[in-house]
Symmetry: C2
């Protein structure tokens, strides 16, 4: 089982590798990957030591092979179905986000409470009333639910999700939802990324 931060790094390697492949570049050394990631060569090679078939050190890693090995390891060789709960600004940004479907995460439906959003179609995704969520999940296999609703609405929606076969939640709503035995939860707060920038700005000012 991959540690949390190796997992995160692997998704970041993927982003760099896709970009290089698009430019027609076919191989990359661990040193160059480390430089682009702003981490040590040692760290990169440590991460890749779990994959013995990636390629030879020194010669550089073959990018296509590298990509397919990480994708396979992350389980990205299949489609995962997604619903967006709360089709507001953030929810609709995700429904429109092309990279999501390119990465094979299919948004199957959205749910909302507002009359002017229900029964509309956004980027081919139908928005249903939140009242229909329970029934929808009985009739449709959904892997991931995304929460983009106001904070107070989370608890009520969690009651429905917990009874369903949904495997994981990506939570953008304020408040931490705890993972439980049958439900993987990832809480995302963009403020953390601002705080990381705040530290780096402070560091640079002190330099």
């Amino acid at each position: 089982s991959l540690p949390q931060y190796t997992l995160k790094r692997l998704t970041e390697y993927l982003n760099i590798l896709y970009q290089l492949r698009e430019k027609g570049i076919s191989s990359i050394s661990s040193g160059e990957l480390a430089q682009r990631m702003n981490i040590t060569d040692v760290q990169v090679r440590k991460d890749l030591s779990c994959f013995d078939s990636i390629g030879k050190r020194g010669v550089g890693y073959d990018i296509d092979k590298f990509i397919s090995i990480i994708e396979e390891d992350l389980g990205l060789n299949r489609e995962l179905s997604v619903i967006i709960i709360g089709a507001g600004r953030l929810g609709s940004a995700l429904i429109h986000y092309k990279r999501l479907s390119k990465a094979r995460f299919r948004v199957k439906a959205g749910f909302d409470i507002a009359k002017d959003k229900i029964n509309k179609t956004i980027n081919k995704v139908k928005i249903f009333s939140i009242e229909k969520l329970d029934e929808y999940l009985k009739e449709n296999k959904i892997d991931i639910a995304v929460f983009t609703v106001p904070e107070d609405e989370v608890e009520g929606i969690m009651d429905i999700i917990k009874k369903s076969d949904i495997k994981a939640i990506l939570n953008f709503s304020p408040g931490i939802i705890n993972s439980r035995e049958n439900l993987i939860v990832r809480n995302l707060d963009i403020v953390s990324d601002f705080k990381i920038l705040s530290y780096k700005i402070k560091e640079k000012n002190n330099a």
Copy 2:
């Protein structure tokens, strides 16, 4: 200088600590923090060993003290000014996001190209024409620029940002912007979080 992943963990500790403080809890042990973070006790204590004034092991860390030490270390004891470039779905979600201003990141202005968005005010933030960005940055001290524009627009906007005194970019637009000597860049792609969920779902299915 804190390593990348310690930095990320510190922001995550903060989120947990705020939540506990709101519930009126005044102390927490490294073991309990580790459990909530789903990481090892060893990792937590290793991260906190850089802060010798946090508190005694065994007794648990005082939450108020813990919070103020991390906040100080991350440079969060001051306001940072932010502009949002691209006031669409994602950009306006950030302009409305209350937690951002609570964490003292002040959105001073937005910029856009669409006639129906320019000269509007969203959540007290004025949206200017992108044509005015150059001049605005000469007259206003801005710390962080957020990019929430379509991919092809990034390069032209980068030309303006590079000439200004902006210290850091938080980039949501597709494509990786490389950090350079005088500019800190953080590229964020929510697809990575979906990929992490994909791995955890695959792992659970295999268990």
